[in-house]
């Protein structure tokens, strides 16, 4: 479908004193899947809320399937489906009744709504569970039904807000395969996630959000190369942490860690020599040095907030 992409330009949103989105620009080409990667509080859900007309942005422009989210909200709503962090379903009703309800809300008429519900149950492998109340569904089944509910009428643009957060590995796999199927069908998808692994698996391109700003952008492969495949971890006395971090930052860009543990990306083994040299010049005696694969969290951290030292405050949801 031509023009069924997403274009976001200079999007801004504040909640009182707090900046949720600051000059966010990115675009999703029609028929592709963009992963919006970021920690809790990075602005992912705010971005989704602005693009799905749930929230009015303070500034900037956004077009979804060719329609401006502020000037043409109804046209936007007629082009989108959204699966939020929590499945927005009626727990008391059966899976089938939920789908019929949403079909009737879209004025399908009771017979068409019922037929469409059966089609969707089959397509999302829920036919057997269709007659059971949703409160008896597993996490994966709920998300699948939630996805199906968004597609009662075919929509060219799909928003997935952390679709697998809180799911077990098997349910996650189920959701992933449905998302992949939809993308193969030509649906433009914007997916937010906290998991690099998820973005890696599903996304054509990734935009990294940190504190409401775009901090990195590229294909999953490009981003991984930027961080490098290994990190060098140095342990120093905790009271000398700041001193050591400052010394490393003089020549190295992405220094993270806390309480005497310093981590820097080490694409080349020579980074170890470099680190030791910088610490020696500062008079800091390292207790231990290791070269290892980065944890997902470190990769992510390096991309979302380069140069900063993580503290407990940044880990918590804001």
């Amino acid at each position: 479908m031509p023009g069924a992409g997403i274009e976001v330009e200079g999007l801004r949103k504040r909640y009182g004193e707090k900046t949720a989105l600051e000059d966010v620009t990115f675009s999703v080409a029609p028929g592709t899947l963009l992963g919006l990667l970021g920690h809790n509080g990075a602005g992912k859900t705010t971005a989704i809320d602005c693009l799905t007309t749930l929230l009015r942005p303070d500034g900037g422009h956004a077009r979804v399937a060719g329609h401006d989210v502020v000037a043409e909200p109804e046209e936007v709503r007629r082009s989108i489906a959204l699966t939020g962090q929590f499945a927005a379903l009626d727990e008391v009703l059966t899976g089938r009744e939920n789908l019929v309800l949403f079909g009737r809300l879209l004025r399908l008429g009771s017979r068409n709504a019922a037929r469409r519900a059966d089609e969707l149950l089959e397509r999302f492998r829920l036919s057997d569970a269709g007659g059971r109340p949703v409160r008896e569904y597993s996490g994966g089944m709920r998300r699948r039904l939630d996805l199906a509910a968004g597609l009662v009428v075919d929509r060219p643009v799909l928003f997935l807000d952390e679709p697998t957060t809180g799911l077990d590995p098997r349910s996650r796999e189920e959701v992933w395969s449905v998302v992949e199927e939809l993308r193969q069908g030509g649906t433009t998808t914007l997916l937010t996630t906290q998991y690099l692994e998820e973005a890696d698996r599903l996304a054509d391109r990734v935009v990294v959000l940190g504190s409401g700003r775009v901090t990195a952008e590229g294909t999953p492969g490009e981003l991984k190369d930027r961080v490098g495949g290994r990190v060098c971890e140095v342990k120093v006395a905790p009271e000398r942490h700041e001193e050591a971090a400052a010394a490393l930052r003089r020549s190295l860009e992405e220094v993270s860690g806390q309480n005497g543990t310093l981590v820097v990306p080490a694409p080349r083994t020579s980074v170890v020599t470099q680190v030791l040299g910088l610490l020696e010049r500062e008079g800091v005696d390292p207790e231990n040095v290791t070269l290892r694969k980065p944890s997902l969290n470190e990769v992510f951290f390096a991309l979302t907030d380069p140069g900063a030292v993580p503290g407990p405050a940044e880990e918590s949801r804001t």
Binding site: E74, D90, F102, L105, R111
Partner: protein
């Protein structure tokens, strides 16, 4: 129904106009009623009123009879008002639950009429009010309560009950929309309900309260509505006893709708 009629016209709006509002409001009302029609609410709406009517009658009936007061006639309108609080509080909690589950958000990002969510809630609430009035009226009848006035007064009785319930619903909807969740909404709503119903002429006449409290009890919105209902059920309904209730309802409705609208705009 023909197939062409069922299918929405290509490009037709599913958001604007009274047709969409009515159709979507009714779909949501049916869903609300389907949710509410469980064993628990059958007990709440069918059994509790009977327990209240006959329970209070057993407790206080003879005392009031000695004073020359027909307690069944006195009590039944009060039980109706008590149940209007139950309908409104249940509605507020259901709204909080829809907000928590994301059903409210879904109605906002889908091309659904902006008023359909509220309209659906109002319609299902009116149905519950009518069920409650019929059940309580029947229980009262068994106990000796009678509509002693003209049919118009009976219609007025039902209309006033509906109006009061919807007024309360506007306020409980606002509470439901700003609460952290259904449990928090329920806790917030129970206290004002108990205070308002106990400090009113629901179960005892105003003269039974201490002197310093009596004027406040007499003027309270709950007493005003109960006294108006009593008047409408009596042999000689008087406009003078209905006006204070209408004034309270108009005022509270304005505040409630303002608060609910503000809360609705912010709720996500």
């Amino acid at each position: 129904m023909t197939t062409t009629k069922e299918r929405p016209r290509a490009g037709a709006s599913t958001e604007h106009g009274a047709g969409n509002l009515a159709a979507q409001g009714l779909v949501l009302a049916a869903r609300n009623l389907r949710r509410g029609a469980n064993a628990q609410s059958v007990v709440v709406y069918a059994v509790f009123p009977l327990v209240f009517v006959f329970g209070f009658l057993m407790l206080f009936g003879r005392v009031f009879e000695e004073r020359g007061l027909d307690y069944a006639q006195f009590l039944t309108p009060a039980i109706v008002v008590q149940w209007m609080f139950t309908v409104a509080n249940t509605s507020g909690v259901a709204t909080a639950s829809d907000r928590e589950s994301g059903m409210l958000s879904r109605c906002r990002w889908m091309p659904v009429n902006r008023g359909a969510f509220v309209a659906g809630r109002l319609v299902s609430d009116v149905v519950w009010v009518l069920v409650a009035v019929v059940v309580i009226g029947a229980a009262g009848h068994l106990a000796g309560f009678r509509f002693q006035g003209p049919v118009l007064a009976v219609a007025g009785f039902v209309a006033l009950a509906v109006a009061f319930a919807l007024t309360l619903t506007a306020a409980t909807t606002a509470v439901g929309l700003v609460s952290a969740g259904p449990e928090a909404a329920s806790a917030t709503l129970n206290l004002p309900y108990l205070v308002l119903i106990l400090l009113s002429t629901a179960f005892v006449p105003a003269s039974a309260f201490p002197d310093w409290l009596e004027p406040a009890v007499r003027a309270s919105p709950v007493s005003s509505v109960i006294d108006a209902l009593r008047s409408l059920a009596s042999a000689s309904p008087s406009a003078g006893e209905v006006w204070p209730a209408l004034a309270w309802i108009a005022g509270l409705l304005a505040v409630g709708v303002w608060a609910a609208t503000k809360a609705f705009g912010r709720a996500r």
